[in-house]
Amino acid sequence: MTYLVKPKLLWDVAPKNALGYTKRDYEGAISTLCAGCGHDSISAAVVQACFDLDIQPHRVAKLSGIGCSSKTPDYFLGNSHGFNTTHGRMPSVLTGAALANRDLIYLGISGDGDSASIGIGQFAHAMRHGVNMTYIVENNGVYGLTKGQFSATADKGSKSKRGVVNNDSPIDLVALALQLGASYVARSFSGDKEQLIPLIKGALRHHGPAFIDVLSPCVTFNNHAGSTKSYDYVREHNDAVNRLDFILPRDQISASYAPGSLRRVVQHDGSVLLLRKLDTDYDPSDRVGAMNHLQERHAIGEIVTGLLYVDSSGEDLHRHLNTVEKPLNQLGDAYLCPGSMALTALNASLR
């Protein structure tokens, strides 16, 4: 945390993206989280991803619930739409917004308390419905705002800062997301931006429910020996299945890769996910295989990261509901509310 406002001075060669914006244009207010919080790194990764993707800030809606994680949308994309909902209710508010205006890019930011405890039902149904969104959980395994109690994602057997051992079984949001129908599922680590930024880019350009579980150490309450969500523990047990290079449709693929080491996935919008395999047997299109792999590794204390599952068919809620192409908020009152005559006719047709 710092009180200063970032100085505006820019050195003359500040890079600009295709829209003419500098990275600073994608930043928000100065973070008031603890110094060294993993969440701030995730904010920085979101800024970088949006800058790289030439996203127009006013075409993004960022929604969040309650908690340290849910404060972060204030710290990035200061020129985007924002909605800070009640605790755990981000998914339903976001679903409503997405139904009303399908043209925006929806970014849901939540934490392990917000999504795995009070909001777990909301999380589950947003995944089930297939809302076209990027859902990022900033997962630190503790309730930081209330001084470090275990959250529902804390591993069984891990120790709190005061030495208390957690006896409850953890909820693995990645496993849930896979099971409930998310079409882009990834896990990453706030301390590894090289992995995280492409994953966020891929998710933002994914059509359908994209879920990223980001392990984000709480420096104040969960960064000690005995924690399984500390910087050191995650670094030691990080088991990445692949490395993602995200390629926009306009970009040339310049790097060369050894044969057989690469998997190429073309997303619905033409963007390309180049997956460099680290685990040669891992298949990111195999949902059941992904779930098994996750459970096996978790049993031996490893944390599986990377792009774990992707289905680029482009299914989403709007398609399921067969809604009109034009966003509802642009249709006009007369169209949205055709009047009592139309209602009578509709009722009559159902009799």
């Binding site: 970032k6 050195w11 110094a35 701030d40 920085a44 420096v219």
Partner: protein, 595 residues
Amino acid sequence: MKPTNIGIPDYFHKVVDCQWACPAHTPVPEYIRLIAAGRYSDAYMINWRSNVFPGILGRVCDRPCEPACRRGRVDKEPVAICRLKRVCADLKDDIQDRLPQPPEKKNGKRIACVGAGPASLSVARDLAVLGYQVTIFDNGKTPGGMMRSQIPKFRLPDEVIDEECDYIIDLGVEMHYEHWVTSLRDMLKEHWDAVFVGTGAPRGRDADIPGRKEAAAHIHIGIDWLANVAFGHTTKVSKRVIVLGGGNTAMDCCRSARRLGGEEVKVVVRSGYDEMKASPWEKEEAVHEGIPILNMLVPKEFQHDKGTLTGVLFEKVRAEYDDKGRRSLVPTGEPDELMECDEVLVAIGQENAFPWIEKDIGLQFDKWGMPVLNPVTLQSTLSLVFFGGDAALGPKNIITAVAQGHEAAISIDHYCRGRDLLQRPPPMTNLVSQKMGIHEWSYDNNVSEEARKKVPTKTLKKTLKDIKLELEIGFDPLLACAEADRCLNCDIETVFTPKTCIECDACVDICPTECITFTANGEEDDLRVRLKAPAKNHDQALYVSETLKTGRVMVKDENICLHCGMCAERCPTGAWDMQKFFLQTAEAGAEARRT
């Protein structure tokens, strides 16, 4: 790359761009902070110790610090360092009681200084306080050398020179005015323990072209003319004046001419405007005073009517560069241009002259007529004779003369004590954390977004009428504060402790200029392009840490760091800290390191 050794004073010293660029290595950010705090006398004393003439230099310094200023790399203009120096001289209290006193018992060594300019006076100050009996000989009636004779009074009033020379003379320095030293051989017979030559570059170069002799009455050598103006021998000039030359002397000549009745004053220069030797601000001042600067014109002939100058004929040229970038001026072939005028001032350079040094006493000169010196010790081939200022390595500026005076004083002290002259005493350095609380630093780390402040001046109408009226008024305390706030505190160094870093990226994320990167180590050229913001300025160092836990290194590009301390504020483990680096160069009398 190998981990940066921040224990070597040069590393952090180089980060303080202004101090590094200053020949005397004045601790600039330190005195600027003191000015902002209203502690003008303290700020003055820091200056006085290092550059001897803060009031003088605050008006007329060549300011090598300002082009080096970090602010100039992240903003339009550098901090007005020079004029802030003047503020501490203008607003200080009486500082007499802070000055060092010479010991009552002298050490019995007698030192002679030839010339009473900045170099000799610096030597005298440094040695007098150690107990040396210093005697200065000068042909003038007053001390100051070219500071008094060649810098016009509207830029540097006599009172300022008097005050700062007196601080030194009052240390018990013996002054012999109107004493022309005619022979070094005779002088050496007087058994001095050492002799310091600070005679400057007294000879102005002449323009040897047709008509020079015939029209001699109307053609003057710039520096001689300026001296005549300074001492009141010349009080008038003709209406139409041409100044030849593009250096600072030419600027002083034209602006003086403008004040002595010159209505049509022009500066004519061989080279292009940008290549002129004059400092940019001096050119601007001249233009501001209605003096056109005409470039790419080489004087060919002084035209006269029976000895009365009528004009100067110029050949038009253009610059051509060969493969090695050397410039030659080639005639364009256009017809020559005649400029009518009544008087010409020739300011095309200065030369050294040592007619009083006999060639057979063991003091060697090189083929350009310059004394053969050890560039570090400034000792000549005659071991008891030392040189400094313009007399040593050719014409430079006051601040260089002061710096050389300090070095010569150290050499003379070593020489008189029978020590090795090449064993130079190291600078005094200190590195202390500035952390006072969670977000509290002992310096103002909020980066000012204000533009450079202009120094208030008297009206042109008024100053053009009176050559002795100082043009600049100087900053008032409020303006000084606003300007001081622009300083980026480069001496508050970002110090990294790899041992405590947990690699959380907080510093990387917050840095407003993206100058911090954690990455795999590599060779410098490779690292420079791999950083978050590529480090293209090779003059600025990369700060590389030891290998961290993840096998990466921390690399910081010093080029555009704002020293805002945000990295240290965001660091959860205190691996980053803001520490004040204070460096003062050694003074004569300091002990050299024993090895």
